[in-house]
């Protein structure tokens, strides 16, 4: 009894609780601080700089001049050439996202439904292994595979199904799919693995066939993974320029290499900055809308 009496003496006052809450919040801020600082300096500020440059003008030699602020670069975006490039990039990104989803979903589902955790972990590591080497190196490796005498080319010729794929559209898609598939598989895996198996059993018990249970339960519940994976694949695909350059032979202009050109050969920084900013804004709005619609159904 004495113990209990001692315990009751320490009364928890509202002030004490509030103080504890504040301390906790402060500790949270402290741990997040390095990331905040890093993101502000190397991400937010450069973006603001890009945005400012989009209103700058150029000297006669093409050097960006931070005076005579104007909207010329932004008005320049209303241009059939830019529209066709944007359209092509959009199409490429959409097709790649759909391909990643179609191939990534069954794969993620298969990993997530392995019974033993060790098996699941090994399979996940296999998904991640490509990241251990440089993206550029891996893309060049594909170039070798798809080139004349490359393994893929020989295989195609032997079966008579395809010839040399390098510098064709399929080569670009193979490269993009290869590069971005892990970004689709990982969030999908996380979402599917979280689904309680008893929900699928409940659906089956309530007269749903296997495919009904998938459509009515598994698919809607893995939606957060589909949304996250699609965004993670779509955004870099839209700006992709390494893969189209190396595997597509830089024959077609896409948003990525068009912007690079503005900062390089064309020496039109303000226009490049305007393009980058415009894409950023559109993507931001689209992403917020997509996330909201995804969250609503849950």
């Amino acid at each position: 009894m004495t113990d209990l009496a001692e315990f009751e003496k320490v009364e928890v006052s509202p002030e004490l609780e509030q103080k504890a809450e504040r301390d906790k919040a402060r500790r949270g801020l402290l741990t997040a601080l390095p990331s905040y600082v890093y993101l502000v300096f190397f991400f937010a500020i450069p973006l603001v700089v890009v945005f400012i440059f989009s209103f700058a003008s150029r000297s006669r030699t093409g050097r960006p001049v931070l005076e005579d602020w104007n909207l010329d670069s932004w008005i320049g975006l209303i241009d059939p050439l830019f529209a066709s490039i944007a359209w092509r990039s959009l199409w490429l990104a959409v097709v790649n996202t759909v391909l990643c989803l179609l191939i990534g979903y069954p794969f993620a589902y298969w990993i997530a439904t392995r019974r033993r955790p060790t098996t699941r972990n090994i399979l996940l590591i296999l998904v991640l292994i490509p990241f251990w080497s440089n993206f550029l190196v891996r893309t060049y490796a594909w170039r070798t595979l798809l080139d004349v005498d490359g393994l893929v080319t020989r295989l195609g010729e032997a079966t008579g199904l395809w010839g040399q794929l390098l510098f064709t559209a399929p080569a670009v898609f193979i490269g993009l799919l290869y590069g971005y598939l892990p970004f689709m598989v990982l969030p999908l895996y996380a979402a599917i693995e979280r689904i309680e198996w008893s929900l699928i059993e409940a659906a089956r018990d309530l007269y749903a066939s296997g495919s009904d249970a998938f459509r009515k339960v598994t698919l809607p519940l893995s939606r957060p993974g589909i949304v996250a994976g699609s965004i993670l694949v779509f955004i870099p695909s839209l700006g992709a320029y390494v893969t189209p350059d190396i595997l597509g032979g830089a024959r077609t202009t896409l948003l990525g290499n068009y912007i690079v050109t503005q900062f390089g050969a064309a020496r039109n920084w303000p226009f490049g900055a305007a393009m980058s900013s415009a894409i950023l804004i559109v993507m931001l709005v689209a992403t917020i809308y997509y996330f909201r619609s995804g969250a609503k159904t849950l």
Binding site: S198, A203, R204, D205, L206, Y207, A208, S209, D212, L298
Partner: protein, 356 residues
């Protein structure tokens, strides 16, 4: 005799080489019966239920539902529905859509479906909650949705896997009575899995006690409580005392402390037995009390008295073991203290001599 609602014959389930979850079970559950499978966790009761549901398939043996062989028929083709332990409500659907799920899948549409869904929601007293999401409901309410979702399909057999396990005691007791009422109202066979012996005793028409994959005893609550077939059953259901002894030629039992008593038994003379004797079947008396001839008597010393509120428990040392005695806390009862010499008496019908 009419055909059994559920009939298991020689049903065995092995997981891999090593684990036998269910070991050659034979069981018939009658139409309209409230049947409980009772046992500690890991005894195979849930696996048995899942095999009836079609969520697992037996390694050996046959399962029939109303005479129809189930074989490896998938769950959606069986005339049964399940109330899952964790309720397994679809989090992305409202209460209405959860309850309507089974009907939608079987093609019941429109006003017929709506009527039946609302009927089921009313039955479990959740009227007005149809448009809520499961997340907005309390545990007890979620449990009712799970029940409505299963009952709305009018299954021939309803399977319940520890449906009250996650609820607190008061709510659990209220739901026990409600479940029993609902079962009588809809008149379908309930197969109920639980590890809570009190729950099984109060709700069931019959109980099957399981341990290590085997079905040890099947009977009414009273049969199981009053005449357990084995030490495990006696121990698992309620509280009991075990006293070692040996059967004499006259049918009496000589206990290890030398006392000779009478008890019910199915074993012959010479067998080594364990007497099971429930605390409430024993009376505690002062030394020198005289008893009628049909009472059995044990001498002992009080070790401890424990106050339970509604009852007093005495721990009495009878020489070889400590025996628990329960005395109802009525006005005027004599209270014995530690160290007191006492005499315990019981009716021979109250003791069961077991060999297992």
């Amino acid at each position: 005799m009419s055909v059994a609602a559920v009939s298991l014959s020689n049903v065995t389930k092995r997981f891999g080489e090593e684990v036998t979850a269910v070991d050659a079970i034979d069981l018939e559950i009658a139409d309209g019966e409230f049947f409980s499978l009772l046992g500690p966790s890991g005894c195979g009761k849930t696996t048995t239920l899942r095999m009836i549901a079609g969520l697992e398939f037996p390694t050996e043996g046959s399962i029939q539902i109303f005479g129809e062989e189930m074989g490896i028929r998938p769950p959606n083709k069986r005339p049964v529905n399940t109330v899952f332990q964790s309720y397994a409500l679809f989090p992305h659907m409202t209460v209405f859509r959860n309850v309507a799920f089974g009907l939608t899948m079987t093609g019941v549409e429109g006003s017929e479906r709506d009527r039946r869904v609302h009927e089921a929601i009313d039955l479990v007293q959740l009227s007005g909650m149809a448009n809520r999401s499961p997340k907005q409901l309390s545990g007890g309410q979620q449990q009712r949705v799970a029940l409505a979702r299963a009952l709305v399909n009018r299954p021939k057999v309803l399977l319940l896997d520890e449906p009250l396990g996650a609820l607190d005691l008061k709510l659990r007791q209220a739901m026990q009575l409600e479940l029993k009422d609902i079962q009588q109202e809809v008149g379908i066979t309930f197969v109920y899995v639980t590890h809570d012996q009190q729950e099984a005793l109060t709700m069931s028409d019959r109980i099957g006690v399981m341990s290590h994959g085997r079905l040890l005893q099947v009977g009414s609550a009273e049969e199981i409580y009053e005449s357990p077939v084995s030490r495990f059953v006696a121990d698992f259901i309620g509280e009991t005392n075990f006293i070692e002894g040996e059967i004499l030629t006259g049918g009496e039992v000589r206990l290890a402390n030398g006392a000779v008593v009478r008890a019910r038994t199915r074993s012959g003379p010479g067998s080594h037995v364990t007497l099971t004797l429930r605390p409430e079947k024993l009376n505690i008396n002062a030394p020198g009390t005289t008893f009628p001839d049909d009472r059995c008597v044990l001498q002992g010393t009080v070790q401890r008295r424990i106050y339970y509120g509604d009852a007093l428990y005495y721990e009495v040392d009878i020489g070889t073991v400590i025996v628990d005695v329960m005395v109802e806390n009525r006005p005027g009862i004599i209270r014995y203290a530690a160290g007191d010499q006492v005499v315990l008496d019981f009716h021979p019908e109250a003791a069961e001599a077991l060999t297992e």
